[in-house]
C-alpha cells in the first residue's frame, strides 16, 4: 500500500495567512496512518497553526489536502469526528469539577459517561474528581485535558506541546498515551520545541518560519 493510499494526513502547499503574514507557508506533508510524528520547531515556527489546520480549527488561506481521507475544506465534520486536538488552551471550564468537565465532553462526543471516572484514574486525578477545574494547577489542567483525549481514542491525535507544565509523573502519562495510541493504530502528531523521545516516535519533522524544512515523505518501515 502506498503512502498516498494510506495517508492519515496529506497536505499540498497549505498556506495560512494572518493579517497578510504567513504563519504556515506552502507546507506539503504526508503522514501515514498509525505513524507517530514529532513536529519540532522554535516558537513562531508554525507548528501550532499547522496542527490547527489539520484539526480544521482554522482553514487554509490556500492549498488543501485530506485528513483521514476526508477533504480539509469540505468534509470538516468527518475529520472532527475522528480527530482530537490537545493544545495549551485546555478547553476546560473552571467552574465545573474535573468529572463534570469530562462528562460534558462525553455528551459532545456521544461517549459513555462512565468512561470519565476511568479516564481520571489513568491520569491520576481520581481524588480531585469533585474539585472545580478552576482551582487546578496548569499541570493538573493539562492532565485533565489528557484524560479527555484518553476517553475518545480518536483515529488522529494532535498534541500541541503536551509536555509543557507537566511534572515527571504527568509526562509519563503522555508517554503512555503515545504508546497506547501506537498499539491501537492511532496516528499521532506531536508539536514541540523539545527534542523528541526517540523510542516513542517514528519520524521527526522540523519546521521553521512557517515551512517544513526536513523531508516530508513517509519514512520507509
Amino acid at each position: 500500500m502506498t503512502a498516498t493510499h494510506c495517508a492519515a494526513v496529506r497536505l499540498s502547499r497549505v498556506t495560512r495567512l494572518f493579517d497578510g503574514l504567513a504563519a504556515v507557508s506552502y507546507v506539503s506533508l504526508e503522514i501515514a496512518r498509525g505513524e507517530r510524528v514529532w513536529l519540532r520547531g522554535w516558537n513562531g515556527s508554525g507548528k501550532t497553526t499547522l496542527l490547527r489546520l489539520i484539526a480544521t480549527a482554522i482553514s487554509p488561506t490556500f492549498g488543501g489536502g485530506t485528513v483521514l481521507g476526508f477533504d480539509l475544506q469540505t468534509e470538516r465534520s468527518a475529520i472532527r469526528a475522528r480527530s482530537d486536538l490537545l493544545s495549551h488552551e485546555t478547553r476546560l471550564y473552571g467552574d465545573l469539577t474535573a468529572v463534570e468537565n469530562l462528562r460534558f465532553a462525553c455528551s459532545l462526543y456521544d461517549i459513555d459517561p462512565l468512561r470519565a471516572e476511568s479516564a481520571l484514574q489513568r491520569v491520576g486525578l481520581e481524588e480531585v474528581a469533585a474539585v472545580r477545574a478552576g482551582s487546578f494547577s496548569q499541570g493538573m489542567r493539562q492532565r485533565l485535558a489528557l484524560a479527555r483525549c484518553l476517553m475518545r481514542a480518536p483515529a488522529l491525535l494532535l498534541l500541541d506541546e503536551p509536555y509543557a507544565a507537566l511534572d515527571i509523573d504527568a509526562r509519563i502519562v503522555v508517554d503512555e498515551l503515545l504508546i497506547t495510541a501506537h498499539a491501537d493504530g492511532q496516528t499521532v502528531v506531536v508539536a514541540s520545541h523539545e527534542a523528541p523521545p526517540a523510542h516513542l516516535i517514528d519520524r521527526e519533522v522540523t519546521m521553521d518560519a512557517g515551512r517544513v524544512i526536513t523531508p516530508t515523505s513517509v519514512a520507509p518501515a
Binding site: 484539526a55 480549527a57 482554522i58 478547553r91 471550564y93 465545573l96 455528551s107 459532545l108
Partner: protein, 223 residues
C-alpha cells in the same frame, strides 16, 4: 442526539452561572441601577412613572440580555471553549439552542427581579390578565435570548468585540422590544384588545430568530 447536546450545553452554562454568579453580580445590579436612574430622572410623578414603566422594563431586559450574552461567550472563549465546541462533531445548531435556552432561564430570573422593582418603584399595575402578561414576558425574553445568543458569538469573534454587540442587537431586536412594550403597556393598563396581534408578532420574530440562529450559528463559529 441534537436535543441531548442542547441540554448538555444549557445545563453546563447554567451550572457555570450558578457557581460563578456572573449575571447575579454584574448584570442584575446593572439592570437595577438603570431602572433606579430612570426613576430619579423622571421625577416623582406617579402617573408618568406608571406610563413609562413598561418601556423601561423592557429596556432594562434588553441591556441586561446584551451584557449577559456577551459574558456567556466570553466565558466560553476562555481556555478555548469555543474552539472545543467548533471541533466537536455535533450539530452546531444544537449548541446554539442550548446557549439560547440557558440565556432564556437567566433572563427570566432577571425579569422577575426587575419586574418586582418596577411594580414597587414605578407603581406598575399587574392588570386584569396576569397570565397574558406572563406570556408576553416569556415571548419577549425568548426573542432577546434567541438574538443575543446568536450575536453574542459574533461580538466575541469580531475584532471590535463588545462594542459590536449593541450595534448589532439594537436594530434587529426593535420589533421584539416594541411588541413586548406595547403588549405590557396594554395589559397593565387594563386593555386586552389588540393583544393577540402583539403576541403573534412576538411569536413570529422568536421563531424567525431561532430559525436563523439554528442555521447561521455553525457558520459564525467557523474560522
Amino acid at each position: 442526539m441534537s436535543l441531548q447536546v442542547a441540554q448538555a450545553i444549557a445545563v453546563k452554562d447554567l451550572r457555570t452561572e450558578i457557581r460563578s454568579r456572573s449575571a447575579l453580580s454584574t448584570v442584575l445590579p446593572f439592570a437595577v441601577t438603570m431602572l433606579l436612574a430612570f426613576g430619579f430622572a423622571l421625577g416623582p410623578d406617579r402617573l408618568l412613572l406608571a406610563q413609562t414603566a413598561p418601556g423601561l422594563l423592557w429596556l432594562a431586559a434588553l441591556f441586561a440580555s446584551v451584557e449577559l450574552c456577551h459574558r456567556a461567550y466570553q466565558n466560553e472563549a476562555a481556555n478555548g471553549g469555543l474552539e472545543g465546541l467548533l471541533l466537536s462533531p455535533v450539530d452546531k445548531g444544537a449548541v446554539y439552542l442550548g446557549k439560547a435556552a440557558a440565556a432564556f432561564v437567566q433572563l427570566i430570573v432577571l425579569m422577575v427581579v426587575t419586574t418586582g422593582i418596577v411594580i414597587v418603584l414605578f407603581g406598575l399595575p399587574v392588570g386584569p390578565a396576569p397570565a397574558l402578561l406572563l406570556l408576553t414576558a416569556v415571548l419577549g425574553i425568548a426573542g432577546l435570548s434567541a438574538l443575543g445568543s446568536l450575536l453574542g458569538l459574533l461580538a466575541v469573534r469580531s475584532r471590535t468585540r463588545q462594542a459590536a454587540l449593541p450595534v448589532l442587537v439594537l436594530p434587529l431586536v426593535s420589533p421584539v422590544i416594541i411588541a413586548a412594550t406595547r403588549a405590557t403597556a396594554d395589559l397593565t393598563h387594563g386593555g386586552t384588545a389588540g393583544i393577540s396581534e402583539w403576541l403573534s408578532l412576538l411569536v413570529a420574530f422568536d421563531a424567525a430568530y431561532l430559525a436563523a440562529g439554528y442555521i447561521v450559528f455553525g457558520h459564525l463559529l467557523e474560522d
